[in-house]
């Protein structure tokens, strides 16, 4: 395989990783707070739909904001049911996913009745970085990306700093580790958990909008294709740490990009193998990380 192809694969991987990283940062907060959001898939797809809809009315930036807001609204609903009505988190998460997948299809079919051509919107414009983007290899990979990729990197650093240096970050970790002690030390457990969930929802919605408004420019039902679940896997693999999440997302996105671009060339392997590869490798990495986590757990229990 040629150098150009590898450059295209890696550049594509960064673009594909952006939505995963954004949603993953949010879910990182949620899981650090000791909760889990199985509704990510539903929040992402609703973000993807409203992103295109708002984008067609008022431009790509409005689309991103709309996606973020929809994710936030769904997270508010989820928080209300889980905290106020004490419903089970996992069941509500599955319910939100079912609702999001159904509602996005419903609204889309009303908006674009079957037989009509799909609505396409302008994607977020690329920033011209001048001579930088013309550098060989590094240029297209690092400097030819959509601004949303840079946004993901910035948010990654922000998330790391928030988790590490702010009162809120410490509160989230305290609540996740030992809610009872955290409450004794004056941390508002419910409010902290709710804030984490709202951040998670908003970023999941934004991640969904990034898929459509960021790169593709249009919506089709089931466009997220299980990315919400991948986000969950990536966050668990990365132990809810920003750097781990970024690496996990990049791994999955790299394999996806590889599958998209290289199955037409060489090797003569069945295309299904390429398409399954990202999921297979994610599973393998999940097994490896779970295994090492379990080992560490046993070490702390029985000191050698």
């Amino acid at each position: 395989m040629s150098v150009e192809l590898w450059v295209a694969i890696i550049a594509g991987a960064l673009a594909l990783a952006a939505p995963l990283v954004l949603a993953g940062i949010g879910e990182g907060f949620v899981e650090r707070a000791g909760r889990i959001n199985l509704g990510i898939e539903g929040m992402m797809i609703m973000g993807a739909l409203t992103g295109v809809w708002a984008g067609s009315l008022a431009g790509p930036l409005a689309g991103l904001v709309a996606g973020l807001l929809v994710g936030l609204v769904l997270a508010v609903v989820m928080n209300l049911l889980v905290y106020r009505l004490h419903a089970n988190e996992i069941v509500i998460g599955l319910g939100i996913t079912m609702l999001g997948l159904g509602l996005s299809t419903y609204l889309y079919q009303l908006w674009v009745p079957s037989g009509q051509t799909n609505v396409a919107v302008a994607t977020v414009p690329r920033v011209d970085l001048g001579p930088l983007s013309e550098l060989p290899v590094v240029g297209p990979v690092l400097f030819g990306q959509s601004p949303l990729v840079y946004l993901a990197v910035v948010l990654l650093v922000v998330a790391w700093a928030v988790m590490r240096f702010t009162r809120f970050g410490l509160a989230v970790q305290a609540v996740g580790t030992d809610p009872a002690s955290a409450a004794l030390r004056g941390v508002r457990v419910e409010r902290t958990g709710a804030s984490a969930l709202l951040i998670g929802g908003a970023l999941a919605g934004l991640g969904g909008a990034v898929i459509t408004v960021g790169t593709i420019g249009s919506f089709t039902p089931d466009i997220t294709a299980g990315r919400g679940y991948i986000v969950l896997a990536v966050v668990i693999m990365g132990r809810s740490r920003p750097i781990g999440i970024a690496l996990g997302a990049l791994l999955f996105a790299f394999l996806q990009s590889f599958a998209l671009l290289s199955q037409s060339t060489s090797l003569q392997l069945p295309s299904e193998l390429y398409q399954s590869l990202p999921y297979l490798v994610t599973l393998v990495v999940l097994v490896i990380t779970s295994r090492s986590q379990m080992r560490r757990l046993f070490k702390t229990v029985r000191p050698a």
Binding site: M98, S276, V287
Partner: protein, 376 residues
């Protein structure tokens, strides 16, 4: 007593609130689509009941959901949250199709029907069971979260199915969608109600419901409930983690694998890429909706299937309302039921300490089922 009665009343209020909000949401969605809600309702009823064929379709649709949900009872009761039915159905269907063709070829196309049924049933169960044992092994051996491993395996199963339908089980005929050859006539399940697609698989749902009704009263069932809330106590009762995870996931895998065979032999007469038809997720929703009680699950499966069929009727009656309205209502319904279940559990939660998230899942529907029994 007064407390119990007050809780009872509050629960009825909450249930009524859930029902009303579902009706309001459905109405709002129909109005939003520019249609008359009453016309929509009429379409819904007609879609379910206007002809024997339609009724048969509701039954046919309820079979896979019902079997998946029923065989999920032990896993959910033990707090093992397997979402792998989708992939297990797919692998079961592939195994069953291959076995039927293999047996038929061995006997030069003259295989008797019962032999082909047994071959399909057993192969389907084996396929689904194997597909369930893998995440069980990963969960027991290395504590891999079973929700994530089963979700990822669903995608791998879909890839395997795509490859299968392009290569070793693909039909030679020109077809619009990838599919296998048509099964030999003897292999397909006979129709139970003439003039409909309702097949003998319906009886299997009834049998399973009865089996689980009896099983519910057994010590094994109680052990699983104990395992969900107090794993250490369960250990003393003989329910180790590995035994519990393996056995409960195996049961759900066997059920899903059999569903794979039923969809091939009873409904489509061939292996299609849409064989699982998102039944896997509906199965979990239905199991929780039915409060993990067999009768409740059968009713919920019928309701889900009727909703899907009715939404198609609604689409053709109004012309504008997309049938995906059914999925929205199912999602809202699942959340509503989770809220009601939480209300029943509240008094117990005051006494019991906080439990781990995953183990918590089964506790609620169980509490719901117990409350039902107590009232009866």
């Amino acid at each position: 007593m007064r407390l119990v009665r007050a809780l009872d009343r509050q629960r009825w209020v909450l249930t009524a609130a859930v029902v009303v909000s579902i009706i309001l949401i459905a109405g709002a969605l129909i109005v939003f689509a520019g249609a008359d809600p009453l016309l929509g309702l009429q379409g819904l009823v007609e879609g379910v009941s206007s002809s024997p064929y339609r009724i048969g379709e509701v039954l046919v649709g309820a079979v896979p959901i019902g079997i998946v949900a029923l065989t999920l009872i032990p896993a959910l009761r033990a707090g093992v949250f397997s979402v792998g039915a989708e992939g297990q159905i797919v692998v079961g269907a592939i195994f069953a199709t291959a076995a039927v063709f293999a047996v038929n070829r061995m006997l030069d196309g003259a295989a008797p029907a019962p032999l082909l049924w047994v071959a399909g049933l057993v192969a389907g169960a084996v396929g689904g069971g194997l597909m369930a044992l893998l995440p069980a092994f990963l969960a027991v051996r290395w504590r891999v979260n079973e929700i994530l491993s089963t979700l990822l395996l669903n995608y791998l199963a879909a890839g395997f199915l795509g490859w299968t339908l392009r290569t070793w089980l693909a039909t030679d005929a020109e077809t619009a969608t990838p599919q296998s050859d048509e099964l030999p006539d003897a292999a397909s399940l006979p129709s139970l109600i003439p003039g409909t697609r309702a097949h003998w698989g319906i009886l299997l749902v009834v049998v399973l419901a009865v089996v689980f009704l009896i099983w519910q009263r057994s010590a094994a069932s109680t052990r699983l409930s104990v395992f969900a809330s107090r794993p250490k106590l369960a250990l003393r009762l003989g329910a180790t983690r590995s035994r519990t995870v393996y056995s409960t996931m195996l049961v759900s895998g066997l059920g899903a694998g059999v569903v794979g065979w039923i969809q091939v032999a009873g409904v489509n007469d061939r292996l299609l890429s849409s064989v699982s038809g998102s039944v896997g997720f509906s199965g979990i929703a239905v199991a929780l909706l039915g409060a993990l009680a067999p009768i409740g699950i059968v009713a919920a499966a019928l309701f889900f299937s009727a909703l899907t069929a009715g939404a198609v009727g609604m689409q053709s009656a109004t012309g504008t309302v997309p049938s995906s309205i059914a999925e929205v209502i199912k999602g809202v319904l699942l959340m509503g039921v989770a809220c009601i279940a939480a209300y029943q559990r509240r008094p117990a939660a005051v006494v019991a300490p906080a439990e781990p998230v995953v183990a918590d899942v089964a506790a609620e529907p169980v509490a719901a089922a117990e409350a039902e029994e107590a009232r009866a």
